[in-house]
């Protein structure tokens, strides 16, 4: 059967860049921003699901990537195109700035519902966490908003007709969970190894159209999202105080003793 899969992705500061806050918000510039690395895995998984289909079904299938964020967030969608997404939606609106987990999930849910208005969505895929906030709760909140079953942190995903089954390792236990589709599934970085995009996809990604929606398009009230709707408020965001310079000991036979002496001196043993 043909599959329609929505992948929700996030544009985050590159983890190799000097990440920062301004006015209590993450700085997400175009130069040092990128697709959240962990979101490559759900895109890859969606591509693999489509590759498992027979040609007519595959042709009728769709991978829609959705992101919420400032104008620069479109970069994340371009990267998702390179990885094999077929359609992309950017939700951008000045009122979204300062959204917390609840606000973000509410907007993503409204976007998924709007995608579903054109045809049923079988599966909503997400990465297990965004490498900026690392909260890893948006997939669960998105499932709650959509009234869909949640299958999170999957290290394996199997679709069998109208059922999804995941295996995951969390908190020192291995769990197998099952739910009817449509479901929200978040996947971790053990589920697959995203392929390097081929030249054709890289070229095509530059010019593929991106649909842009505002809150008005989604029917979401501006007071429910952004700073207005946030249930938390940032009091302060500061760079961590500088560490004292490292005490460097070059081992010439007594490195272990020096280490032990340091631990004793600092009252750590």
């Amino acid at each position: 059967m043909a599959r329609r899969i929505v992948v929700v992705v996030k544009h985050v500061p590159n983890i190799h860049s000097a990440r920062a806050f301004a006015d209590g918000r993450t700085v997400r510039g175009a130069e040092d921003g990128s697709l959240n690395e962990l979101d490559e895995h759900p895109v890859e998984e969606a591509v693999r699901i489509l590759e498992g289909l027979d040609e007519p079904e595959r042709a009728a299938s769709e991978i829609v990537v959705v992101t919420v964020g400032p104008a620069e967030a479109v970069d994340a969608l371009r990267r998702a195109f390179q990885l094999g997404a077929t359609t992309a939606v950017h939700v951008g609106d000045d009122a979204l700035a300062g959204s917390d987990y609840a606000g973000t999930a509410r907007v993503l849910a409204a976007a998924v519902r709007k995608v579903a208005a054109d045809g049923p969505v079988d599966l909503v895929l997400a990465g297990m966490a965004a490498l900026d906030g690392l909260g890893s709760v948006v997939p669960a909140l998105l499932a709650a908003e959509l009234g869909m079953p949640q299958l999170t942190n999957a290290g394996k995903l199997e679709l069998d007709g109208a059922t999804a089954r995941v295996e995951r390792v969390v908190d020192g236990a291995t769990e197998v969970l099952e739910a009817p589709l449509p479901a929200v599934v978040s996947v971790n970085d053990h589920i697959n190894r995203p392929r390097f995009p081929n030249f054709k996809l890289i070229m095509a990604a530059r010019t593929k159209p991106v649909t842009t929606w505002t809150l008005a398009d989604l029917g979401v009230d501006a007071t429910e999202v952004g700073e207005a709707g946030a249930r938390t408020r940032v009091l302060s965001a500061e760079p961590r105080p500088e560490r004292a310079p490292v005490e460097l000991h070059v081992d010439a036979g007594s490195g272990g003793e020096a280490l032990a002496e340091f631990l004793v001196r600092r009252g750590l043993v």
């Binding site: 966490a129 949640q150 969970l177 760079p239 043993v269």
Partner: protein, 324 residues
């Protein structure tokens, strides 16, 4: 009406309460009258600890369904927080999601993985380290109810000035409500992993962690030796896990376990961003690496340039000699 109840979700009440749960009780006491909640019947040892920590009100959630399903756990907790100011839970993956779903049900504000929790102008504030430990962010919850997951080692556990006698009451979630809350999700199986070397503390909550990476070349013997001399947990990098040198549960990093011990010792670890993201908020950082240019040295308090295979056993021997 001003809410004054601080709820603590206890993870394991089958035996004596462990450090992280005692820390939560200690923090919760600074925010109000503590109510402890658990999905199982507390043991006598757990009740004794609760009494010592000043907790008179203990709730056992009696769920006619699968409490390991996020939706079910959140639904069971909902009535227990309807008069509460704050709920604190340990920073496990399961708890993050349970609190998120509870936030959805109650409209509460959520702070994930606070390293410190305090009162700020009548609101509950959570402080955390983000961006691989490079920035400190302090937030307040502006709703009537605040939900926070709290990292281990946030405070040192301290019993109350006066002990009390806990009274256990039962709050039930019936089968129909549990099924509705599961939202179609079915737990097919759940297998707890065997804890190898059970003498060592669990990685996520240990106050001392010794971790090994590619530089171990697969031999975790020196890492284990130093860990045992320090009573530490063992951690590892993604590389070491992918090589099959150590089990997946030991992986420290952004997609593994995030740790905030008092002392972290990294051996044969270069300090790639993914690993740093999971350990850089540690209080004191020590590294042993033969490469003087490795990035982890930039974030260290103490570093030894040398071969971990000789440095770690020597350090372990020196510590053992001191304890003898």
């Amino acid at each position: 009406m001003t809410r004054t109840i601080s709820v603590v979700l206890l993870d394991d009440v089958s035996g004596a309460l462990r450090g992280p749960d005692l820390e939560l009780l200690t923090v919760a006491r600074t925010l109000g009258t503590v109510r402890a909640v658990a999905f199982d019947a507390p043991s006598d040892a757990a009740l004794e600890a609760l009494g010592a920590y000043g907790v008179a009100d203990v709730v056992r959630l009696d769920v006619d369904g699968e409490p390991h399903l996020t939706g079910v756990a959140a639904a069971a907790l909902e009535p227990v927080v309807d008069d509460a100011r704050v709920l604190l839970a340990r920073a496990t993956f399961a708890n993050k999601e349970v609190l998120a779903r509870l936030a959805h049900l109650t409209g509460a504000g959520l702070v994930i993985d606070a390293a410190r929790v305090r009162e700020h102008e009548g609101l509950v504030a959570g402080w955390k380290r983000v961006f691989a430990g490079s920035w400190d962010v302090d937030s307040v919850v502006t709703t009537d109810l605040a939900l926070l997951t709290v990292r281990p080692n946030a405070v040192r556990p301290e019993p109350a000035a006066t002990a009390v006698s806990p009274v256990v009451r039962v709050v039930a979630l019936d089968a129909a409500a549990a099924e509705a809350a599961a939202g179609g999700v079915r737990l097919v199986s759940r297998t707890l992993h065997e804890v190898s070397g059970s003498a060592r503390p669990p990685l996520a909550e240990a106050s001392v962690v010794v971790a090994g990476g590619r530089g171990t070349f697969g031999d975790f013997g020196p890492v284990e030796e130093l860990a045992d001399a320090l009573g530490a947990a063992i951690g590892a990098t993604r590389d070491a896990v992918d090589e099959g040198w150590i089990e997946h549960d030991a992986q420290v990093g952004q997609t593994g376990v995030t740790i905030t011990p008092h002392l972290y010792i990294g051996a044969g670890i270069s300090g790639a961003p993914h690993h740093r993201g999971g350990m850089q908020a540690s209080e004191v950082i020590v590294a042993v690496n033969s490469d003087p240019e490795c990035p982890i040295f930039e974030i260290c308090d103490f570093a030894v340039v040398g071969d971990l295979a000789t440095v770690l056993p020597q350090a372990a021997a020196a510590l053992r000699a001191r304890q003898a």
